[in-house]
């Protein structure tokens, strides 16, 4: 107990947190048009890429080829990208990366569109999604994070937006389940289940046009339909966490 008090009084707080970061897979850094092509990509979504942290991945680099981290990171900077670390790599690459102030990440998993979710301990009390809806391939990184569904979600269907938001333009039937690591937006009636902040993000929110849900949950805190107050039923609401409590408020602008 005294340990905890001491920790609380400490001049800092150390907490784990999740971030979605882009990985830049480098296969040929010496290609003439490397930075030209990259700046072209950045120009497509300048706001998204502005000062965005990126993790380098050199697994596709031909073996034995040297890599000048310092120079490469400086060039990335000129494009507004901030290299923050190296993913995987050989021992030499890792040492070189550490020498220029990059962190070394263990070999992470990319976010393929149809991969089952890792089950974070923070949400162990919530049923885990088993089925993941195949999402169409997207070009831009931020599109990869958002799962956009343009139809009604029928009973028994389960959708999971891994590492991002889930947007449904339609209604969600009883017995359907929406799961997202980020926010959930339903531009119709929400009659099924909605679980936002599945990976533990307590700032995630649920928005819907008509709240008739079976269950809503944010970062593992849930409420079933029986416990929903009459005043918010069938209303346009947003659901969020504040001070560890689940709030359901009418959307007022």
């Amino acid at each position: 107990m005294s340990n905890q008090v001491a920790f609380r009084d400490a001049p800092f707080q150390l907490r784990g947190s999740n971030f979605t970061m882009m990985v830049l897979k480098v296969s040929d850094p010496h290609a003439q048009n490397f930075f030209f092509a990259l700046s072209d990509k950045v120009r497509q979504a300048p706001n998204f890429f502005r000062n965005a942290p990126v993790v380098l991945d050199l697994d596709d680099l031909p073996p034995g080829q040297s890599f000048d981290f310092e120079n490469f990171c400086d060039l990335l900077r000129t494009l507004g990208l901030i290299a923050v670390g190296l993913q995987g790599g050989t021992r030499e690459q890792q040492e070189a990366a550490l020498a220029v102030g990059l962190a070394v990440f263990p070999q992470g998993r990319a976010t393929p569109d149809a991969a089952p979710a890792p089950r974070p301990a923070a949400v162990a009390d919530v049923p885990a999604p088993a089925v993941v809806a195949p999402a169409p391939a997207h070009d831009l990184p931020y599109q990869k994070a958002t799962l956009l569904v343009r139809e009604n979600v029928r009973s028994g269907r389960q959708l999971y937006a891994q590492g991002g938001d889930l947007v449904v333009i339609g209604s969600v039937s009883p017995g359907a389940e929406l799961v997202a690591d980020g926010n959930i937006h339903v531009y119709g009636a929400l009659r099924g289940r909605a679980l936002a902040g599945m990976a533990g993000d307590r700032t995630a929110r649920i928005f819907c046009q008509s709240l008739e849900a079976e269950m809503v949950s944010i970062a593992g805190l849930y409420r079933v339909s029986e416990d929903l107050e009459k005043s918010v039923l069938r209303r346009q609401v947003q659901i969020y966490l504040d001070q560890g409590f689940l709030h359901i408020d009418p959307v007022t602008v």
Binding site: P127, A130, G156, R157, P174, G175, E214, M215, V224, E226
Partner: protein
Amino acid sequence: MAKIIVMTSGKGGVGKTTSSAAFGTGLALRGFKTCIIDFDVGLRNLDLIMGCERRVVFDFINVINGEARLSQALIKDKRVENLFILPTSQTRDKDALTEAGVEKILNELKKEFDYIICDSPAGIERGALMALYFADHAIIVTNPEVSSVRDSDRILGVIQAKSRRAEKGEEPVQEHLLVTRYDPERVEKGEMLKVEDVLEILAIPLLGIIPESPAVLRASNVGMPVVLDDKSNAGQAYSDAVGRFLGEKIEHRFVKVEKKGFFDRLLRRTA
């Protein structure tokens, strides 16, 4: 010793879930601690019939997968003491039912409950097989029409071949026939099979005859097991069936066309 009862039929839409809800509630009303399990993974309805759909957080499949404890998934009925419901998942399919998983949960339930009712899905595939595999008793729900009788005959064959009792060479599963949606008027007109005809083909002891009744649909729509509607003849017939199951001698009722008096006719017209 806890008994496991499977409510099955082969055919769909004959009243398995209605019967599971009514029969389970009837057992609980008589003081037996009863749990009704929905085995219809992916097409769950028991929670609606029992009126507890607004309280489902975890389900049978979550417990099988170790994502929740049994006590977290069991829903206690608010009307009847001793009655619990174990809802199923709407988003998974029948493959989620593993033999080891189902057995583990049934064994856990057996420690606490007197009766465990397994509400089987239609068909003779995995869901139905898992529902009947561990059964001590089987209640075969049959409508008085040929296709339902044929399917019931088929499921009886499955029980006799594929249940655990059959596989282990133990005492066979005790079979009971529950005829539902019985309409004496249509039987009299020859539009529906007589109970005797059904019994002749299936040749198992008759547990009860549930008359066709508007009370059944009414009860389903408000999420109340029909046995709680003790004014309805369907409710009374279910209550009788529970009594017979427990060994009481009770005459079958609602089998003959009721003679209607003038006022009854008048009331029926206007109803």
